[in-house]
């Protein structure tokens, strides 16, 4: 009897709870109206709710209908979901701080989630969850091209815009699908293959012939491309990759791997960290090299500038590294594009494709210049005022895909000049 009463009570509670929960409308959070002021130096923005069509064409019409002399433009509130971690390494924090600054300043909110690109299942689950959570825009770094049709289908059904970071699409059928997609806003990528090639080429210039690599598990698109570039360089320059270690998560694993390489190959010339999710790996490898007494013989190279780059150059362990001006700049720019789309002021009517150039650092002074600029996770790529005025289409009608690409190129070229 008691159990039946309890079951009945619980069921009633659940039903009442559902009705209570369902009674609150999600639309009420967007009912506030506010404007983005062009000359507002505090860069505090609020957004007017609107019922404009979410199609790219209608948004473009809305943009073109703006009065050019107006100081305030109406944009929509929005919520973004970025499938990248926001902590665990300085570069993650730097990226998330910049994206949060821009999004918050333009009346939106953003959530981050790590581990999304680790597998296709995780990517799809992330997209489904974020659509259900009310995201207006989603950024992912898909593990392969074949997951993209499913993502596009989910987003299109839900009317959610989405974009790709750190990847380019290679499959022709998928490219065709994306070109005809109403909700795909574009991608930002870098030439990982060339980065891998460039680093190996730099090592060759320093007399390296035998290299051991530390990388991610096979199937990781980024490191696979970098390794492909490295392998090509090996073919071109007569170098050899003699050993590998993958999926290292702890610094002690990196030390063990480096020790094993050094012991097994007395003629080893370099250890190349192609890619790793763990932090502190480079110092651990440098320690292993120094403990083996081979710091004059064995060089360290890497892609993605490590936090300890300056000390590693100072000690002479690190000889070359390639990377982006800032790792987080790629997702930042694609998020800006997505945010504008969600605000109702699309930058482009067709999917964009930005390219971020990687560059290499081969000496201590350049490393110091880079670290002074991007070694702090509180650094902003642009001050808040610039972000709102320049990178918000509502305030800058001249913002186009070409101007965004130019900004990316300028950022890379000027990244060491501050």
């Amino acid at each position: 009897m008691k159990s039946k009463f309890l079951v009945g009570l619980l069921t009633a509670t659940m039903v009442i709870g559902c009705m209570t929960g369902c009674g609150s409308s999600t639309e009420s959070s967007t009912a506030k109206t506010s404007t983005v002021a062009e000359k507002d130096t505090t860069a505090t923005t609020a957004v007017e709710a609107g019922n404009e069509s979410t199609s790219m064409e209608a948004a473009a019409d809305a943009t073109s209908a703006e009065s050019t002399g107006s100081n305030s433009v109406e944009t929509k509130p929005y919520k973004l979901a970025v499938g990248l971690p926001d902590s665990g390494a300085t570069m993650f924090s730097l990226m998330s701080n910049n994206i949060k600054t821009f999004v918050n300043a333009t009346g939106g909110e953003v959530v981050f989630q790590g581990g999304v690109g680790a597998s296709a299942d995780a990517t799809i689950q992330f997209v489904e969850d974020q659509i259900a959570a009310g995201a207006n825009g989603i950024i992912i770094s898909p593990p392969s091209d074949s997951v993209i049709p499913t993502v596009d289908s989910l987003c299109s059904d839900a009317g959610v815009y989405w974009g790709i970071t750190f990847r380019t699409v290679k499959d022709d059928a998928v490219k065709e699908l994306l070109n005809s997609s109403k909700y795909y806003i574009g991608n930002c990528s870098e030439d990982e293959y060339s980065a891998g090639y460039k680093v190996m080429s730099n090592l060759h210039d320093k007399g390296v012939t035998k290299v051991a690599i530390i990388s991610q598990a096979k199937g990781n698109t980024t490191t696979d491309l970098r390794e492909a570039g490295a392998n090509k360089a090996c073919q071109d320059f007569g170098m050899e990759i003699v050993a590998e270690a993958r999926s290292l998560t702890q610094a002690s694993d990196a030390t063990s791997a480096a020790e094993s390489f050094l012991t097994a190959y007395s003629d080893l010339d370099a250890i190349f960290v192609v890619g790793t999710t763990g932090t502190g790996m480079h110092e651990a490898i440098a320690k292993a090299i120094e403990d083996a007494g081979r710091q004059n013989d064995v060089k360290l190279a890497t892609i993605d500038f490590p936090d300890s780059m300056v000390s590693l150059f100072e000690s002479g362990d690190l000889v070359t590294c390639a990377g982006l001006a800032s790792w987080g700049y790629d997702p930042f720019m694609i998020t800006v594009t997505l945010a504008n789309q969600c605000m109702g002021c699309p930058i482009s009517n067709t999917p964009v494709s930005y390219s971020c150039n990687m560059f290499d650092i081969n000496d201590l002074d350049t490393a110091k210049a880079w670290v002074s600029r991007f070694g702090n996770d509180q650094t902003l790529y642009y001050d808040k005022d610039t972000m709102v005025k320049t990178y918000c289409k509502a305030n800058n009608s001249g913002l186009t895909a070409d101007s965004m690409q130019k900004a990316i190129t300028d950022f890379t070229e000027n990244s060491l000049s501050k």
Binding site: S252, E259, D291
Partner: protein, 314 residues
Amino acid sequence: MKNSIIKIMELLILPVGLFIFFSLIAGGFGLHSLPIILSQSMLPVVIGLGLCVLMNAGLMDFSMGARSVFGATIGGVFSQGYGVVGLLLGCFLGAMFAAVIMAVIYRLFRIPAMVISIGILLVYEVLAAKLVGSSGYIRIDKSLFVIGSYPYNVIITLAAGVLFYVLSYRMRIGCYITAVGNDEKMCKNVGINADKVKFVAIILTGVFCSFSSLLMLCYSGSVTASTDMGTMNLVFKPIMCVILARHLRKYVDCMPFLILIGGLCITIIFNGFIALGFGEALQDIILGLFMIGVLGSTALSEQLQRWKRHKQIA
């Protein structure tokens, strides 16, 4: 005594045999690899010693990796202010704190240790990540690296092994732990407070975790605060070492030595394959086959004898 020595020599055939095998087939593998093999075996051996205490009590624990990382993080934080004293104190306090919490939860909640270890692992990973800050790792001063380098790491592991031996074979608590692991109900009937014994066993793992925290931090000079159950990978190698050791216990009952044998075998295999230039895929396959081969050898030989007998009768 003579029998024990003979049995120890027989046991040494396994790592020595593997070593000779790889020395013959892999060019970069030889006597010069010994210090590295010893060094790399130390961390899994120390964690294995802690696991063995729990497994002797019939418990299982996946959180030793997370607790070691947590202890190492505290040690790293303390070392920045108080040097080597801070390092040692931090590692000890961090690891013991983690063990005490786990023991208290086990005693209070009365749920299986494996279950608690999964929950504890999730919590401690996050705590360590929050402590290290945005960089994701914590470093120690170069002057402290020597503690984790050869031969000091071997000395530390030896100390842990002696401690384990004394605890398990020379003290009453070790006897009680083994008894509780074999038949807890009987122990309760003869008046042993099994719950208290298991509580103490979990606390004792904290001591070994403090050793492993120290080794982990000083060996590489830094510790990475991984999340998403990444620290569980730290426990699989030691589990293999302990299970190998338990399988070999029929030859000689000295678990620290047997765990070392297990650790050496696994490390020799890994280094041998690196020397051969084999990829990760082959390493995984061979390691799995090795474990099945060694642990299943008894059953395999029994089956073979049964088949021979059957054939003879036929």
